[in-house]
């Protein structure tokens, strides 16, 4: 039974289908991601990194950019407002 939704094959994050504990194995809805273990608790609906993402790199969900990484992100990390920044609409 999968616990993480991967919406598009090119996505660098998945979505938790349940509340995931820290140290849980990520069991994605696709078969090209293996061996990822959560580094923090991931609440239902929140994102977990499926791959290594470098500082400043675009983060991909729905097959498109949802913003850029602030700091390096390791596979299994919670990806949210603390390490993902929008590049749209903000004051310049």
């Amino acid at each position: 039974m999968s616990n993480t939704l991967v919406i598009h094959p090119g996505d660098s994050v998945g979505v938790a289908l349940h509340d995931l504990q820290a140290g849980a194995e990520v069991e994605p809805t696709c078969d090209h991601v293996t061996g990822v273990v959560t580094r923090q608790a991931i609440p239902f609906g929140h994102k977990v990194a499926l791959v290594s993402i470098r500082d400043g790199e675009q983060i991909i969900k729905y097959g498109a950019s949802i913003g850029v990484a602030e700091g390096d992100i390791a596979p299994g990390e919670h990806v949210h407002v603390h390490n993902l920044r929008s590049v749209r609409g903000a004051a310049q």
Binding site: G45, H46, S86, R88, G89
Partner: protein, 388 residues
């Protein structure tokens, strides 16, 4: 087999209503109380809770006059009372004239001329009752789904919106478009980051250009405020629900429009005239956006909500859908349809889209939506400028 008709009220101008309501329109905040009293005393009368009309910019007065007249000419409205104080900036006679260009009767009541609140309320109640009595003689007849205009809205979104409820609404939207209906997506500020998907589906270069200009103008305006966009888009509730950025929200939101080409770009409150999927430039603020969609002629608005939003509209049924099983369990008394079965794997996106289609036709045929049962009558206009 997909139904291609529902039971509606055929109007003299060829449009089809799904409700028979009397709209009661105050033309300024000072006339609001008398208008609200009239609406509360007549079954089937709906207050359009407009509070501008005085000390506003010419742009706002013109927008309000046109939008309120669109409500009076809306197929769900069988008569309108314009309740004026008598000294406000908004020209109540002009509004009544524009409103009267439809097929439904329009009456203008001026508080200063009638001699105060009590006399205005008495006269207004009498007129509203007359309008309602005439409506009682109207019967529903079979009408094609192609006579519907449907609004697509989302509010109180969370991660499940993009996973379940919005894709299901997209499947529903595709079914409506296949029948020749008009379907309207909205909320420009919530589409920053998904415009490439809309541009790819523009029916022609003119629509593509208008889509791009609409999004760019919205983003310029947001930047000009000098404020951080976070906390507004996405909202604090969106963030708690797992949405981190406006781009992520947008990529989930755009799924509501399904797979159809975009055929028309509408200004706020402008009437949708082309069969197929249109886009209206509205704020992400839900009551303001839904108010604009109904002005476009939407007889019904469909509304996805992950965290739970209770709202309705003064003259159009709002049908709500959630993809979040916890929200369905906690707040299902405000929501019409559960799409969380997509996440649990019990149903496909297409199956839930078909359920929504069937539900919208039942509501269009007279079944009250939950927001109507609970008495929701939200009306909130976009305001462009300052108040003097």
């Amino acid at each position: 087999m997909i139904a291609d008709s529902f039971q509606g009220y055929q109007r003299a101008d060829g449009s089809v209503g799904v409700r028979n309501l009397v709209a009661v329109i105050p033309t300024c905040g000072c006339a609001q109380h008398a208008a609200a009293r009239i609406a509360s005393l007549v079954d089937g009368a709906a207050l359009l809770n407009y509070t501008g009309g005085c000390g506003e910019t010419e742009g706002d007065i013109a927008l309000a006059t046109d939008l309120l007249a669109q409500y009076a000419r809306h197929p769900n409205v069988i008569g309108t009372l314009v309740v004026s104080l008598g000294c406000e900036t908004l020209n109540a006679h002009l509004l009544a004239e524009k409103a009267g260009k439809g097929t439904a009767p329009v009456e203008l009541l001026t508080i200063q001329e009638l001699g105060g609140t009590a006399r205005t309320v008495t006269r207004g109640v009498e007129l509203a009752h007359q309008m309602r009595r005439r409506a009682e003689r109207l019967n529903r007849v079979a009408c094609p789904v192609a006579s519907l205009t449907i609004g697509l809205e989302c509010g109180g979104s969370d991660a499940t919106s993009g996973m379940a409820a919005n894709p299901a609404m997209g499947a529903f939207s595709d079914l409506m478009v296949a029948q020749g209906a008009r379907v309207v997506l909205a909320e420009t500020s919530e589409l920053l980051g998904a415009e490439h998907i809309m541009l790819d589906r523009a029916a022609n270069p003119a629509v593509a250009r208008e889509l791009m200009e609409t999004v760019q103008s919205c983003e310029r305006w947001l930047k000009a405020t000098g404020e951080d966009f976070m906390g507004k888009q996405p909202s604090p509730g969106n963030v708690r629900g797992g949405i981190s950025t406006v781009e992520e929200k947008a990529l989930g939101d755009v799924l509501k429009g399904g797979h159809s080409p975009f055929v028309q770009v509408l200004k706020y409150g402008q009437r949708a005239t082309v069969a197929g999927l249109s886009f209206m430039d509205t704020p992400g603020n839900d009551p303001a956006s839904v108010t604009g969609l109904v002005a476009a002629g939407c007889q019904v608005v469909t509304f996805t909500t992950g965290r739970g939003n209770p709202m309705g509209n003064a003259i159009a049924p709002v049908v709500k859908v959630t993809g979040n099983a916890r929200t369905w369990a906690r707040m299902g008394s405000d929501i019409d349809l559960d799409a969380s079965t997509i996440i649990s794997g019990q149903e496909s996106v297409e199956e839930v889209g078909e359920r929504l289609y069937e539900l919208v036709l039942r509501v269009s045929s007279g079944m009250p939506s939950i927001a109507e049962t609970l008495g929701h009558e939200e009306f909130s206009m976009l305001r462009l400028g300052p108040i003097y």
